[in-house]
Symmetry: C2
C-alpha cells in the first residue's frame, strides 16, 4: 500500500476493490466530465489495515489526509474553519459491493459555532443553522454513539414549545436553541463536547465509518447476502452541495429505467429544499421526476442527458443520486441500480434488443436466485377483494399473513407459532431486517419506492406495499386504522405488491406463469446450457407446475409420499403389521391399484419425458402412529390389539434412523414391497401407452452401499418388470439406476455401474454421511460453526464442493469408466441452487433435478455455468 | 476339465483344490508307500459342475466312474456284487479345507442281500450282517434322508425283545431281523426299496455327498469358519478295510503330538472291533495309544513309524485315521491336525528348535485369532472348589455359566436373557454347533478327546470337558446327576478345561499370563513386524494388562469413560445443567483434579510410552438420566427443579445422535470443557515428571470434519497446554492430532494434516458413515445381508477394505503429502482383527491400537502381515 487516498480525478470505475463502488464511480464520472462535487476517497486498504492493527491507521496516513484536505480546499476555493468561505464536506462509506442503508453517513462536516455564525451572516441564517443542527445530530448519533431518540425528543420538545408542526416551521433562533440542546445532550451523555475543529471532526467521522464496517447491521447484511472476501470499506469525502438552499434547490434519486418493472423510462423521485437523507429515510413523500420536467425543465433536460450517457457508458441501468443547489445540478453517485427480478429480466432482454449487450451478458446479468420472485404467487386479479388502503407497489408479488407491528413479533410468530405474518410499520430501518426476512410481506405507511422498506423488500424478493398513507399505525394498541377499518395484531391482511393494494383478510392467490421477456431469456438460457433440468415431484400438481416451468422430466418421484395419501396409510400399516410375507402381500395387493393410478397420472403429464421413480425409502416406523392415542385409533381401524401395535412400534424404533433399516435394505429384506411398486410402475406405463402416451419409466434404487445390493435389486426389478410387460404384451425399455447417497456408493461406483444405467446423487443424505451431520440435529452447532467460519455455506443448501463434491467427482469418474454412457443427475435440495448447479456442470453431470419452483432457476444457472466455464 | 476321477496313484498332496484335502493326502501317502487301501477320488470340479448345471453330471462322467470301479476291482481282486469276493467301499466327502463332522460318509457300500449271504458264508456271518445293517442304516439316513431316529428305534425294539444291552449282544439272526426292519422303514418312508445294485448305490452315495456340500450344517460351518471360494467337495471312494473283524481288528485316530498341549508325544485313541464312525461319534469311550503299545506292540511300532515319517514329510503335526484289519494296519487318512492354540504355539516353536521349520513358518502357522484362548481366564488354581465330576480336559480355559441342556435353550438364554450358559449334553452333534457357539463352555458325559464336542470346542477356543461319565443327564426333567448332586437347568456350574473338573457353582477365575513358548513366539513376531501395537484403554487395570501383553503405548484413552466413575457424574450433570459458561466452568473445576488423577495413573503405567487421549466425544445426553425416577433423584442430588432437568433432557434429545452434537462440535461450542481436559492432561504430565516418570501425552480431537475445526482446536489445546507448562515450569512436547472417522476428514486429510501431528482412524464411526449403517440398528438387516452375500464379513469387526479402506488409503496418502512424518494409527474395534491388521500394514499405517486382550493377537497378525507382504 503506497497511497492511502485518491482524489476523484485519480481513479476510475475499475478500481472498486480499492476505492469502493461509490468512490470508483465518482472517479469515473469526474473523468467523464459529469458535474460531480470534488472530493477524495480513502482506500479500503486503510480499513483493512485499521482492523488488522487494533484500530490504528498506517504511518503517514495523517499527513496524507491533511494534504488531501488542502487540495480539496484549493479546488473549491473554500477552507476548513473559514467563517467566510467554509469548506463543508460529506463523509460516506462505500465498499466494493453496495450495501444500502447499512453504512453511516455524515453531512455538513466542517461546521462549528464560529463557522456557522460567520457563514450565516454571509448566506441564509436559517439554512446554516439547520445544517449545523443536522451535523450535530448525525455526529452525535453516528460518530459518538448517542441514541438518536434523545435528539428527536429534544427537537420535539422545542417544536411543541414553539407550536411548530414541521421542522421547517422552526426559525433560525429556534434552531440555535436546538443546537444548544443537542450539544448539551452530547456533553451529558459522553462527558465531552461536540468537537469544534473540522479536522478533528473529519478524523472522528472516518473512525466512525470504519467502525460501522463491523457493526451488527453490516455483518448481518453481508451474511444475508453472502458477501465475503472484502477488504473493508472506503471512505468518500466530498465537498457539500445543498439541496436545501430554497425552492430552486432539491435532492433526489433517479433510475435510468423503472427498477420495479424494468420499463425503459426515466424514473426518479426528489424533494425540493431537502437534504439527501430526507429522500432515502422515506419520512416525506417525494415528488416524481415528471414533476421536475414541468417545474425545472432545464435541469430535467440536463439530468436525463446525463442519465442516458451514463447508462450507455456502463451498459447497465443506473441508480443515481443528485442534488440541485440553487439551480445547479450535481451528481453525487451512480451505480448499477438494484431492481426487481422482473425488471432485471426485462432490462437485460431489452438491452440485447437495443444492441447494448450480448445474449450471454444478459443471461449473466440475472441472479438466478432472484427469479424466484417471478415465479411467486399473485393476488388473483379476478377475485373480489376488500381493499382498505393503497400504497406504492414497492415490490411485486402477493403476501397473505397475520398483522404484526415489530420485527421481534414477526420472528416470534413465525418461528414459535409457525404463522405467516405481514409486518406493518410506519417506516422500516435496518434494525427491522430480521423481521422483514421472515415476513410474507411488508406494509409501510410512509416512504417512497426508494425507501428502506422498498429497497430491502425488493432485494429479498418479498412483496412490499410502501407509503400507504391512509394507514395510521398505533404501536401501543397494536392496531392500525385505515378509514373506518381497524385491524388488530393477529388479523389477516393481504398485500398486492403489483398494484399496491392493501386487502382485508385472506385474498385468494394465483400461481405465476412465465411470459414475455422472461420466456425469451429462458429460451436463450436453454440454448446455451448443457445440463438437463428435471424436477423432484410426485404429485400431479407439482409435476404439472414443473413441466410448465420447463422441466425436462422427473428426476425424483418419492413413492413414499404417495403412501400417506388418504386412507392408503391404513393398508401400509396393515402391511407393516402383517405376521409374514403372505400377510404383507395381501396388504400390498390393496396398494397396487392406487400406486398404479399415481404413476399413470405422472406418465401422462410427463408424456415423452423420463420419469425416475424411487422405490420406498424411509424406515417403516415413519408410517406408524406415535402417541398412544393414535395407536388406539389405528388398532380400532385395522382391527388388531393395541399391544401388537405398541410392540411393532417398539421393535421398529431406531437409535439412528438415518442410518437404519431403510432404502434398499427394506427391499432386500421384504422384496414383496419393491415387487408391488415395480409392478405398479410398469402396469401404469403399459396402460397409458394404450392411450398413445409415451411413458418412460426409470426405476431408482435408494440407499445402495454395495454393488451386490444393486445386483440383487436389478434382478428383482427386471424380473418383475418383464413379467408385467409380458402380461400386458407391450415393450417398454426397463431402465434401472440408483441413488448415490452414501460415501461407499461413490467409492464403489465402478462396481455399482455394472448394474445401473443411471446414477442420481442424493446430496441430502450424502452430505449427512460425509460430514457426519444429522440434518435434524445439526441446528445445535451449525450457528456456532458459521460464526466461527467453519462452514461458509450451509452444506444442505449448497453442495460442499471440497468434501461431498470430491465424492461426486469420484463417482462420476468411476461410474463412467465402467459405463461411458451412464446418465448422471443430482436430486438433493442443492439441485436448484446456482453455485451447486455450476458445480454439477463442471463435474460433468447429465442433469440436475429440483423442486418445481426451482426449475427456471436451475435452467438459468445451468446456462450461466455453461458460459462461465466455456 | 478333462479328467473327472483320479486314482490315488495319480495325485499328490499339492492337488488339494482338485482332490480335496483327504484325497490329496491319500494320494500322497499312496505315493510314499504307506499302506493305504486303494481307491479313487472324484474331483471338486465335478461338484462345481453339478451345482452349476442343476445337479447334473458332466458328459462322460458315468463312463469314467465305471472305469474307475473296474480298475479298483482289478487292484483289489474283488468285484462289485460278487458274493464270493465282493468289493466293498467307503464313500467320503473331502473338500480342500477340512470340515470335520460336516459332510457325510457311507461305509460298506457294495453289500446287498445276495452279496451279504454269499460273503457271510465265506467269512463271519455276524460281522457281515452287522456291516450290512450299518450300510442300510447309513444309506437310509444319509443318502435317502430318513431320520436316523427311525432306525435307532427299530434297533432298540429288537434289542429290548432280545434282552440285549449292547449292539454287540445281537447275533447274526437278530441282525438279519434288524436289516429287514430297516428295509421296511425305507420302503415305507420313501416308497422305494434299498437299492441292490452296488453301482446304483455308489451313484446315489456320490449324489448324497455332493448334496451335503450345501446342507445347512455345511453352510453354517463355512460361515462360522469364514471359508469361501471353494469349488465344492471331492468324493473319495476307497476299498473298505474292517476294524470290526474281531479282537485283532481295531480302528482309531492318532496325532503325532498332543493336540491339546502340543507336547511331543504320540497321542491317539482307538476301539478294538469297531468301525471308524464309532470313535468319532464318541459313543464308546476309547482306549489310549499306550494300551496298543502293550496289546499290539508290532502294530504300534509300525504305526508310530508311519506317524514319524508323515510328520517329517509334512513338516507339521499329523492327525491320522487308521484301521487294523485282522492284524494288518491301514492308514485311511492323514492331515495337518487341529490343535488348541497352546498346542499350536508349542508345536510351532518346538519344530523351529528341531530344525523342521523356519521362524517365519512358525509365525505363519498360528491363527492369530486363536491365541485368544491363551489369554483367557483359568479357574483359580488356589481356589477351594466343589468338584462334582471329572471328565477329559478336551479344550482348555474356564467356563462359568448356567446349565442348559439344548442348543436352542443356550441361544435363547444368551440372546434373550443375556445370561452366560454352559451347555450340557450326553454328546454333541453338528446340529448343536449354534448352541456351542454362544455357550461359555461345553460339558459332555460321553465321548473322548476327539469326539465332536471336543474337536469343535477346541476349534472355537471354548472350554470343554468331555466324557465326564459320572454325569447322568435327564433331558426331560432338565437336570443332571453326578453322584449325590442334582443340578437343574439354570444352576451355575464351572468347568476347568485344563483339568477336566466339573465344579458346582461359580468358581473364581484368574486372568492368564504369557510364558514359555508363547513368549518366544511373540518375541520372534515383534522382531519381524513393522506395525506398532498400542492399546485402547483408560482404566489403570486395562492399561496394565495391555502393557503386560506387550502394548507399546495407548492409542485411545476415552476420557468420557472417566466421567461416569463414582460421583463424578454429578459434576458432569451440574456442568450440563449450568445456565452459562461461568456455571459450566464452576462444575468443570470440580472435575479437573479427578481427571488429572486419572491421567497421572495412565502416565505412570505407560512410563516412556505415548498416551493418546481423546477429548470428550459422546453427546451430552448420554450423561443425563433417562427415566423420570432417575431424573427426580438427580434433581434432588444437584438441587435443581425436576422441570429443569426434564427440559434439558428434552432439549438435548437428538433424532440421530450418531450424527449429532458430539465430538469436537462440543468443544467448539463449549471450549471450556476441552480446556479443562487439556489442563488435566498437562498438569498430570508435569506432576508425574517430577517423580521421574516420562509422560508422553498426545491430545486427540474427535469427529473432525473440516480443517478449520482442527485449526480452532489446535489453537485451543496449544494455548491451554502452554499455559499449564509455563505455570509448572516444565517442558513437554505438545502433540496434537485427530481421529479420522468421517468421510470428509479422509477426503480433506491434506488440509487437516496442516494442524495435526497424527491421525487415528476411528473405523467404528467411519464404517457407520461410509456405509450409512447405524451399528445400533443394523441388526434388522445385517443377517439378511450376510445370507444374501451382500456382506462377506461384518464391517464392524473387520475393515471393509473396498469402501472404508479406500478412504483410509486416501487419507494416508493425502495426510503424508502435507506432512511426510505424520504418525497414523487405527483405534476402531477392527484394530485387533488379523485381516484388518494386514490391511493396515499394507496401507502404511504406523500402528494399530486395540483392546488389551487383542494386543498379542495384533502383534502376531502384524508379524504375519510383514511376512505375507514382503
Amino acid at each position: 500500500m503506497e497511497k492511502y487516498i485518491y482524489a476523484f480525478e485519480e481513479g476510475n470505475k475499475d478500481m472498486k476493490d480499492l476505492l469502493g463502488g461509490k468512490g470508483a464511480n465518482l472517479a469515473e464520472m469526474t473523468k467523464l466530465g459529469i458535474p460531480v462535487p470534488p472530493g477524495f476517497t480513502i482506500t479500503t486498504e486503510v480499513c483493512e489495515f485499521y482492523y488488522k492493527n487494533g484500530r490504528k491507521y498506517p504511518p503517514g496516513f495523517n499527513a496524507e489526509i491533511q494534504k488531501a484536505v488542502r487540495e480539496l480546499e484549493e479546488k473549491t476555493g473554500k477552507r476548513f474553519g473559514d467563517p467566510e468561505r467554509p469548506l463543508l464536506v460529506s463523509v460516506r462509506s462505500g465498499a466494493a459491493i453496495s450495501m444500502p442503508g447499512m453504512m453511516d453517513t455524515i453531512l455538513n462536516l466542517g461546521l462549528n459555532d464560529k463557522v456557522a455564525d460567520g457563514f450565516a451572516k454571509k448566506t441564509n441564517e436559517r439554512f446554516v443553522m439547520d445544517a449545523y443542527r443536522r451535523l450535530v445530530q448525525m455526529f452525535g448519533d453516528v460518530v459518538m454513539g448517542i441514541k438518536h431518540d434523545k435528539f428527536e425528543e429534544a427537537l420535539q420538545e422545542i417544536k411543541d414549545k414553539k407550536g411548530a408542526k414541521l421542522d421547517t416551521d422552526l426559525d433560525a433562533s429556534d434552531l440555535r436553541e436546538v443546537i444548544k440542546k443537542y450539544k448539551d445532550i452530547i456533553k451529558k451523555e459522553k462527558g465531552e463536547s461536540f468537537p469544534q475543529d473540522p479536522m478533528k471532526q473529519l478524523q472522528m467521522a472516518v473512525d466512525a465509518v470504519f467502525g460501522s464496517w463491523n457493526n451488527p447491521r453490516a455483518i448481518k447484511y453481508r451474511e444475508l447476502n453472502d458477501i465475503r472476501g472484502l477488504k473493508g470499506t472506503a471512505v468518500n469525502v466530498q465537498a457539500m452541495v445543498f439541496g436545501n438552499m430554497g425552492e430552486n434547490s432539491a435532492t433526489g434519486v433517479c433510475f435510468t429505467r423503472d427498477p420495479s418493472t424494468g420499463e425503459k423510462r426515466f424514473y426518479g423521485e426528489y424533494l425540493t429544499n431537502a437534504q439527501g437523507e430526507d429522500v432515502v429515510a422515506g419520512i416525506r413523500t417525494p415528488k416524481h421526476l415528471d414533476d421536475m420536467k414541468r417545474e425545472m425543465p432545464e435541469i430535467y433536460k440536463q439530468l436525463t442527458g446525463i442519465m442516458e450517457r451514463l447508462e450507455k457508458h456502463y451498459k447497465d441501468m443506473q441508480d443515481m443520486e443528485f442534488t440541485i443547489e440553487e439551480g445547479k445540478l450535481y451528481i453525487l453517485q451512480t451505480r448499477n441500480g438494484k431492481r426487481t427480478a422482473a425488471a432485471a429480466v426485462k432490462i437485460a432482454v431489452d438491452m440485447v434488443g437495443e444492441g447494448l449487450i450480448e445474449k450471454e451478458t444478459a443471461i449473466m446479468r440475472i441472479d438466478p436466485s432472484s427469479i424466484n420472485q417471478l415465479l411467486h404467487k399473485q393476488i388473483d386479479p379476478k377475485a373480489k377483494t376488500e381493499v382498505i388502503a393503497k400504497g406504492l407497489p414497492a415490490s411485486p408479488g402477493a403476501a397473505v399473513g397475520k398483522v404484526v407491528f415489530s420485527a421481534e413479533e414477526a420472528e416470534e410468530w413465525v418461528h414459535e407459532r409457525g404463522e405467516p405474518v405481514v409486518l406493518v410499520r410506519n417506516e422500516t430501518s435496518p434494525e427491522d431486517i430480521h423481521g422483514m426476512a421472515v415476513a410474507e410481506g411488508i406494509l409501510t405507511s410512509k416512504g417512497g419506492m426508494t425507501s428502506h422498506a422498498a429497497v430491502v423488500a425488493r432485494g429479498m424478493g418479498k412483496c412490499c406495499v410502501a407509503g400507504a398513507e391512509e394507514i395510521k399505525v398505533d404501536y401501543e394498541k397494536k392496531e392500525f386504522h385505515a378509514g373506518n377499518y381497524t385491524v388488530k395484531e393477529g388479523d389477516f391482511i393481504s398485500l398486492n405488491g403489483t398494484t399496491g393494494e392493501v386487502i382485508l383478510g385472506r385474498a385468494p392467490v394465483v400461481e405465476p406463469e412465465m411470459k414475455g421477456e422472461f420466456r425469451t431469456l429462458m429460451e436463450w438460457a436453454d440454448n446455451i446450457r448443457v445440463l438437463g433440468v428435471r424436477t423432484n415431484a410426485e404429485t400431479p400438481k407439482d409435476a404439472k407446475t414443473a413441466r410448465d416451468f420447463g422441466a425436462e422430466g422427473i428426476g425424483l418421484a418419492r413413492t413414499e409420499h404417495m403412501f400417506f395419501e388418504g386412507d392408503r396409510i391404513v393398508s401400509v400399516r396393515e402391511m407393516i403389521l402383517a405376521e409374514d410375507e403372505e400377510g404383507r402381500r395381501r396388504a400390498l395387493e390393496k396398494l397396487l391399484p392406487l400406486q398404479r393410478g399415481d404413476f399413470e397420472k405422472l406418465f401422462e403429464i410427463m408424456d415423452g419425458l423420463d420419469v425416475t421413480i424411487r422405490l420406498l425409502d424411509p424406515p417403516l416406523h415413519e408410517f406408524m402412529p406415535n402417541t398412544e392415542e393414535e395407536m388406539k385409533e389405528v388398532a380400532k381401524e385395522i382391527g388388531v390389539p393395541l399391544e401388537k401395535i405398541q410392540e411393532k412400534v417398539r421393535s421398529l424404533h431406531e437409535l439412528n434412523p438415518m442410518l437404519g433399516f431403510r432404502g434398499c435394505r427394506l427391499a432386500i429384506v421384504y422384496p414383496e414391497i419393491a415387487e408391488m411398486q415395480v409392478r405398479a410402475i410398469f402396469e401404469a406405463a403399459a396402460n397409458v401407452m394404450k392411450k398413445g402416451i409415451k411413458a418412460k419409466p426409470e426405476v431408482m434404487i435408494p440407499l445402495v452401499a454395495t454393488a451386490k445390493e444393486m445386483e440383487i435389486m436389478r434382478d428383482l426389478v427386471e424380473k418383475t418388470a418383464k413379467a408385467v410387460l409380458e402380461e400386458k404384451g407391450v415393450e417398454i425399455p426397463i431402465k434401472i439406476g440408483t441413488m448415490i447417497e452414501l460415501p461407499r456408493a461413490a467409492i464403489t461406483a465402478d462396481e455399482i455401474a455394472k448394474y445401473a444405467e443411471f446414477f442420481s446423487f442424493g446430496t441430502n443424505d450424502l452430505t449427512q454421511t460425509t460430514f457426519g451431520f444429522s440434518r435434524d440435529d445439526a441446528g445445535k452447532f451449525i450457528p456456532a460453526y458459521k460464526e466461527k467460519g467453519i462452514l461458509e455455506k450451509d452444506p444442505f443448501a449448497s453442495v460442499d464442493q471440497e468434501g461431498v463434491g470430491f465424492l461426486i467427482k469420484l463417482a462420476v469418474e468411476k461410474g463412467r469408466k465402467t459405463r461411458p454412457e451412464l446418465k448422471i443427475g443430482i436430486c438433493g435440495e442443492q439441485g436448484g441452487e446456482p453455485s451447486s448447479v455450476d458445480f454439477c456442470h463442471r463435474a460433468g453431470l447429465t442433469y440436475v433435478s429440483c423442486s418445481p419452483y426451482r426449475v427456471p432457476i436451475a435452467r438459468l444457472a445451468a446456462a450461466q455455468a455453461a458460459i462461465r466455464n466455456k
